[in-house]
Symmetry: C2
Subunit: 405 residues, 2 copies
């Protein structure tokens, strides 16, 4: 072919590959070589999706699968509304727009608030995909560091305040947190409300792991603080709650009707969210609460097991996370990316190895998280036990090979 002179947008060129999916090719190679790869890298639970989802879809008999309202179908909107009501969150149907997953909800929220060069405040380590979702709008992620020594609690008012500039548009909070598993307590919620109100910032509350809290302190909603309702955007998704990551239905909820009106324009640009997914989602919300209770119990048991296993491995550092199904694990290595690749390429125990998720890309500050990985414990207990054994042996061997002993 001839030499072309086109170039792609700086925006897209500047996006890094997903750290969660970064080692996919290494994993494929390991599998081709006959190895079994236990995934500790991805938040894909093995919990069964409520049967209500597929059975509601199977009952659809529409002859034409037509466009729906850009806002979403009433059944899905009302399902989210009723769900929020059970948590005391005062969202009415007109405050809710159905989105194609939580990722679209986040993209729409950020695009509505940020022009090129505007800033979003987040707490690092943070869900690395925020980098991409912000870059799509030209927005910049500004990170406030939280540290494992303090179990990733928020720093003081002054430390956060220092990062706020006249370009800051919002504080993006993940509660419960991915990747740290931390859960905001009342003083932290109030700190964010105070900062948002003092600086006219929006709070984007990404709460897709809302149910999965194992600590006594429980979930606290920003909606308990009526003074911040005009500044609050809640981003939600059914992916984790109902173990349906392939469902791709979420929502944006806000009492700020001007904000909702702007987001609706973005909803109109993609015409509508998928119809059958919305029907299935509405039905799924009717599942008995025991479904969620059992999922919570299962994740708590796995957390307890996984933390105990990991803390028993020599040289690792981790604290007990309060929620979600992730935690950050410090490893006795210099470069967790190199170790992750080595485990897939060079190591196995009886034909089995593990796939880790290096934590470096969860940090915006260079040099942070180099020896850390994110552990996702949403897989069965026997696999967690095997994985911990493989990690322990792998670390010993790696440290020997690399002269780290």
């Amino acid at each position: 072919m001839s030499t072309k002179h086109y170039e792609f947008s700086k925006r897209v060129k500047g996006i890094n590959a997903s750290p969660i999916r970064k080692f996919a090719s290494h994993s494929e190679k390991a599998k081709k070589e006959g190895k079994t790869v236990i995934p500790l890298n991805i938040g894909q639970p093995d919990v069964v999706t409520p049967k209500e989802y597929l059975s509601a879809i199977a009952a659809i008999d529409s002859s034409v699968i037509a466009y729906t309202s850009s806002n979403g179908i009433n059944e899905a909107i009302d399902a989210f509304r009723d769900y929020f009501k059970t948590l005391g969150m005062p969202f009415e149907s007109e405050d809710i727009l159905i989105t194609t997953g939580g990722s679209e909800a986040l993209t729409f929220a950020i695009s509505t608030l940020c022009d090129d060069g505007d800033e979003i405040l987040v707490f690092e380590p943070y869900y690395a995909n925020y980098n991409t979702l912000a870059k799509i709008s030209g927005a910049k992620i500004v990170a406030v560091t939280t540290v494992p020594e303090n179990n990733f609690a928020l720093p003081s008012y002054e430390v956060i305040k220092e990062k706020i500039t006249d370009r800051t548009k919002a504080i993006l909070v993940t509660n419960p947190n991915n990747p740290t598993g931390s859960v905001l307590d009342r003083s932290e919620i109030e700190l964010i409300v105070k900062l948002a109100l003092e600086n006219d910032l929006f709070i984007i509350a990404d709460e897709v792991y809302r149910e999965f809290i194992y600590a006594d302190k429980g979930y606290i909603s920003f909606t308990e603080y009526p003074e911040c309702l005009e500044n609050l955007v809640v981003v939600d998704s059914v992916s984790k709650r109902f173990s349906g990551c392939g469902i791709r239905i979420g929502c944006v909820a806000s009492k700020n009707d001007e904000f909702i009106a702007e987001v609706l324009k973005l909803c109109q640009s993609r015409l509508c969210a998928p119809y059958v997914e919305q029907i299935g989602t509405a039905a799924m919300f009717k599942v008995d609460h025991s479904y969620i209770d059992e999922a919570i119990k299962s994740y708590r048991d796995r957390r307890d097991l996984c933390i105990k296993l990991m803390q028993n491995i020599e040289g690792t550092v981790c604290q007990i996370p309060d929620g979600a199904f992730y935690f950050i694990l410090g490893l006795p290595v210099e470069d967790a990316e190199d170790f992750t690749g080595w485990m897939l390429g060079e190591f196995d125990v009886d034909g089995e190895t593990i796939m880790l998720c290096p934590a470096k890309d969860f940090y915006a500050t260079p040099g942070k998280g180099l020896n850390e990985v994110r552990i996702s414990y949403c897989i069965a207990e026997d696999r967690l036990i095997k994985a911990a054994n493989i990690l322990e042996k792998g670390l010993k061997e790696y440290r020997k090979v690399k002269g780290l002993e």
Copy 2:
């Protein structure tokens, strides 16, 4: 509430409401007043979606609806590949990324090619949603005018060339065209290929109405010109082909592997396209070709009827469109938006009225299209006959009331 000082992004503030959905509230009001509103405004066909779609989904028995590959599931990718092959289009599986509708495919293509201020060349009148999809990336639509007198054929090389600047990244072509119904002939295809190659531009070929061509000239693919394959992006969707607008599955296809690698990053940012829709889509492509043949015949009959009816109305101007299911209709009014609102609010024939789509927003050049509407004829013939009768009577009454006679 207190006075807030936040402001929303200029990007989103700059987006206009969809012209196709602009009069939705007028229509709702008319319906509440007991009127029946016949929609001539929206491309929502009444043709039945292939049964294969829902039956394949009903057969899914996965216990967990998990994330799929960000590229799309193999079944869906291969279905598009095989379909393209039947048309002689040389796309392999690795050249195809499944998207959540054609709108996401367009957004991803534009975002990958354009930074803030970069330009996309289109031919006006054009699908108004391009304005929004471009604005999301900060890209600017630059319009080359086509005129009804020439049945919206492309202008000369020189006229198009004049609009190309050093910020132009792509020519976005809708073939068959929405809203004009025009279909590119060989000389027009070659003109675009020549301009793209001379100026290192991408061709974004939005061909979601590909099957719906009623003229002898037939469909010509840009892939017949191997010299432009590196510059070519085909955007596709199942919405119109299979009358499944609520399905939201489309794709981006390109032989430019660097381009595909960049778009894949955007695919990863939203994790995956919805799973069950992909399963249904793969099955739907297996529908017997008689399904498409019957749809084409039905649309051709409706076109012939609708054009005849409209041409018989005093003062209207339209030519026979070659494809899609739209055409531009000139009306003997000064302001088609005012007329559209008046028809919904003030007029009916035996309790029935019509909803039109004013064409002004399909033009970028101010002052163009003010007396035009886009007619969508994808509804049943008896409704078209009724609609034409209502339009004729409405025009007479409106011209009398407004003193236009």
